[in-house]
Symmetry: C2
Subunit: 198 residues, 2 copies
């Protein structure tokens, strides 16, 4: 009778495999994360990965889950409500430091891939919907509290924040000398000012 | 003595190979554009591609050139100057129809790849620099003509337009039910209004 490995080991090794895949993607893009490379970097013999993940798609999916979880974790703390909450939330989501720029790099790799994977795309849409719902809630609170007086509909304001954030994530990788963190902060500060003007 | 194929055929075939690569990327992402698939779709025997492109990297580079040229062609017409020029230019660059959304799909595939290719990245930076220079020129003209009275620095305004456009391209693919073309038009219209306010 063979003994199953302890569950804790199993989870740890899955997590280790995701760590390794993450690093491979950061360093070389999604094409660099082949089964051979993942196995080598994780210190496994070829084929041993199958004990932890049924397929490469499963590893990719788990790494995407990690990427979305990392991004969500930046904004998960309690930011308060209304305008101040919105500002803190948006600032936390911007790629303003090396850790967040690294996560943007992994997300960018997945954005293209997820167009061809209904499963990954569904995950992104769940993430995006939660994001937009949260932004809308802050705006609603800000209006209730009389802080936000913009005549623009909230739907448009939410979308503008989403586009700015997506663009900032992309440009923090592709054109950081142009789209500096200073400008990112200015965009947010100006947006917050505009919300308060009738 | 072997005869070289006529130059015109050579150029036509190179262009055909780029067409085919473009379609493969649109339909399946960059990973779908393997040498084998490109040769098959172009109607060539395996290995015959070498007569037209030295390597896969060369095919990818030519396809990226095409993508950047397509995007540039949208905005290449004479848009006039100042505020009206800026508005027409920005509208032309937004992913508002199927043709432009398809180009966005190819660009998105390349954005991640170009992070790991100094040659592709340099091409993108040339494109981005020209784009920003053109946006800045419209803003300068608009100020000269007294149409633009925003107190924000032009550098910030240029960057905001770039982030909005990058975000719109991305969201036209990943979340088109949220970031609709109607909202994209509203963002631009609102931006143009803001430029005119002191």
């Amino acid at each position: 009778m063979t003994r199953m490995p302890k569950l804790i080991d199993h989870d740890e090794r899955r997590s280790h495999i995701v760590d390794v895949t993450w690093t491979l993607i950061v360093e070389g893009g999604i094409e660099a994360a082949t089964m051979r490379e993942i196995a080598a970097a994780a210190g496994f013999a070829n084929g041993a990965l199958k004990r932890y993940f049924a397929s490469k798609d499963d590893i990719i999916e788990a790494t995407y889950d990690r990427a979305l979880a990392v991004v969500s974790s930046y904004v998960a703390q309690d930011h308060g409500r209304g305008l101040a909450g919105l500002q803190a939330f948006c600032l936390a989501a911007m790629p303003l430091d090396a850790r967040r720029i690294e996560a943007a790099r992994v997300l960018l790799a997945f954005w293209s891939v997820s167009l061809y994977s209904p499963k990954l795309h569904a995950k992104y849409l769940t993430h995006l919907r939660a994001w937009r719902t949260q932004l809308a809630a802050f705006l609603r609170q800000g209006r209730e509290d009389g802080e936000i007086r913009s005549a623009l509909p909230d739907e448009q304001l939410v979308d503008e924040l989403v586009l700015l954030n997506a663009g900032a994530n992309m440009m923090s990788l592709l054109g950081p000398k142009f789209s500096t963190t200073r400008l990112q902060r200015q965009h947010l500060a100006d947006f917050m000012l505009r919300l308060q003007q009738p």
